[in-house]
Amino acid sequence: MNYWNRRIASAILVLALVLVLNFLLFRLMPGDPVASIIDPRFSPEAKEQLRRMYGLDQSLPVQFLMYVKSTLSFDFGISFLTGRPVMDELRSRVPNTVFLLGTSLLLSSFLGTWLGMKAALRRGSILEKCVLWIGALSFSFPSFFVQLVLLMFFASMLPVFPLRGTLSVPPPSGGAALLFDYLRHMALPVLSLVLLGFGGWAIYVRNLMVKILGEDFILLARARGLPKKNILRRHAFRTMLPPLLTIFLLALPGIVSGAVITETVFSLHGVGRFLLEAVTGHDYPAAGAAFFLLALLTVACNLLSDLLYGVTDPRVRLERGNR
């Protein structure tokens, strides 16, 4: 098996285990999942019909297979709370979550990489100290606290940004106005995630860079008289990419988890807040669906960066592929 196939196979394995975990969490928990919607005044036939509707009259293995089949076709059943198909509720929420995470990730990784490289080049400068401090602080302050403070000061006391929601109520008409309204609502969540994220990136980049700049091949490149920019871009930066991707991979689940908190703080119309509402409302199909989508997002990003890893570091491909 070559590198690509192995990565894809392992992603599929993780996804399969996520399915099992999801089934265990939301189907096998103590208490009858349907009990919350069955009214004691229902006739026995009506109860039986409800159970059949949710497939609870089957044996567990059959239930599991039915569950896998419907989940893989993105049919998550009917919400206990709203009585509508869960997928209808989720469809409008997925783009918001992806936009929130994607934009903030891109911005914070660019800013962090740039600052980290600057800090590594100018060791002992004020910039380096600032980067190290911001990184250390962003590890110990809870993300929701920072976001709450930003919300308090920039939405409540100085009403620069809206206090809650993804769009104004009612939403403005017209394409440009709608887009502007959306961006205005997403600005503070994205900015807060960038603020929380870039410090960590900068520290990693700085540490990697400091190590790489001390290596012999950089010394050789300098001795050969290559221009400084060239050394940085072609030699140092290129070497830094694979370990940086590894760190990104490790941080990814935490970033997706962060969506739940960010969306709750800013009351965004996203998958994370939907999950929270479903969990607190004991809406099992909805909670299972939201968890599955978040896990799917993580596994997909995981796979993507695994594949990128193969592109940036040719050794991985050759080493494993020839075995």
Partner: protein, 394 residues
């Protein structure tokens, strides 16, 4: 090891533990008591607002002058303790620059009224809407509260004014003292952080030792589980478990520890792998020592210093997870924790009230506790691995 006394974090941790144990003695009321008006500002913040106070008249001091330079109090209540026998006395209220005092309440038989009671307002000739406090304190200047008339009098008269200011850190949406809530929160964060990490370390060490020493199938199964748990977002799983299993403090500790042993397991496994093939272990095996003996008597003690460091560094994670779950509203509402305080600030109107004093104390508390454990962990890590120390070239 003696230089631990030079670390700020060590003394800070001692102080925090002391606060967790003895902190409730600093306040005379339990933290869940409602002591003042909701969203009262801290005392030092806004001096035009009236402070919350109690004025007491007794037979020894039957009248009292009140110098008032604030806005009217937000709420007012009066309690007249019953006196023995028929008494023709009244509680009188004289506003600045008026001659005729207002009859607030009769003294006989006891009397208790809130500024919002319609009967009380009607007896003063006030409209039935709003609070009597606004019209009783309509001006700034010297007020006089007195008891006059003939007859026996032995009970006290208590006038309670609820202003917009209270204590060191103000009050929350239910009028609880934030300073005492904050002190109560230290306990929960410390208990959850320390016990969840202890349990997780126990799990991680046993699984890591088993995986590293036994190898083979055990190893690959355990490590696959570690990989899986490290590659999915865990917060949703924790949320589901917290919502389904119940929200008590110890359930939370259990849930957190089940999902945070992976890092320790990895470290211990790696360490065990290097130790397993060391010649003294091989020698022991050659002498016929059982695995159990080798694991307990030789491998476990070797890993202890590393364990201590990873454990200390693991506490902030547990504290932050607990705070996150409580912030999402998935903790027991009766247990006061910093995350819970932030949850209440977020969902019960601190933002519309502009009550930033509800927000900052718990947040800084969490950050301080995390920094303390991070610093201690770094210190221990340097002890274990001197190469990490500053100034030592790698």
């Amino acid at each position: 090891m003696r230089d631990i006394f030079l670390r700020w974090s060590f003394w800070c941790l001692l102080l925090l533990i002391g606060t967790a144990i003895f902190g409730n003695r600093l306040f005379d009321a339990p933290p869940e008591r409602e002591v003042a008006a909701p969203f009262s500002k801290p005392l030092w913040l806004d001096r035009t607002l009236p402070p919350t106070k109690e004025i007491r008249l007794s037979p020894e001091s039957p009248s009292l002058l009140l110098d008032w330079h604030y806005a009217p109090p937000s709420r007012l209540s009066i309690r007249v303790e019953p006196s023995a026998g028929e008494t023709g006395r009244f509680v009188l209220w004289r506003k600045p620059e008026t001659e005729v005092p207002l009859r607030l309440a009769p003294l006989r038989g006891g009397f208790e009224a809130d500024g919002r009671d319609i009967a009380f307002k009607r007896s003063l000739g006030l409209p039935p809407f709003g609070d009597a406090a606004a019209s009783l304190f309509s001006e700034q200047g010297g007020y006089e509260l007195s008891v006059s008339g003939e007859g026996p009098w032995d009970g006290d008269v208590v006038l309670k004014l609820e202003g917009g200011r209270w204590g060191l850190l103000g009050t929350d949406q239910r009028g609880r003292d934030i300073a005492s809530l904050f002190i109560a929160g230290v306990q929960v964060s410390l208990i959850v952080g320390i016990f969840a990490t202890l349990l997780a370390t126990f799990l991680g060490t046993s699984l890591g030792l088993a995986a590293g020493y036994l190898g083979g199938w055990t190893d690959s199964v355990i490590m696959r589980i570690v990989d899986l748990l490290l590659s999915i977002p865990l917060l949703p799983v924790l949320m589901a478990l917290a919502a389904l299993w119940g929200k008590g403090l110890w359930q939370l500790v259990l849930i957190l520890s089940i999902f945070s042993w992976m890092g320790t397991a990895r470290t211990i496994r790696a360490l065990t792998l290097t130790l397993r093939d060391a010649s003294y272990i091989e020698g022991l095996r050659g002498l016929g020592a059982p695995s159990k003996y080798i694991l307990r008597r030789h491998l476990l003690p070797e890993t202890l210093p590393v364990l201590l460091a990873t454990m200390t560094l693991g506490v902030p994670g547990a504290i932050l997870s607990e705070a996150g779950l409580s912030f999402l509203g998935l903790s027991d509402p009766r247990v006061i924790s910093w995350g819970r305080m932030l949850h209440e600030a977020h969902s019960f109107g601190a933002f519309t009230a502009g009550a930033w004093w509800m927000l900052l104390p718990p947040g800084f508390g969490i950050a301080l506790l995390c920094l303390v454990f991070l610093d201690l962990g770094k210190f221990l890590e340097e002890k274990v691995d001197p190469r990490l120390r500053k100034g030592v070239r790698q």
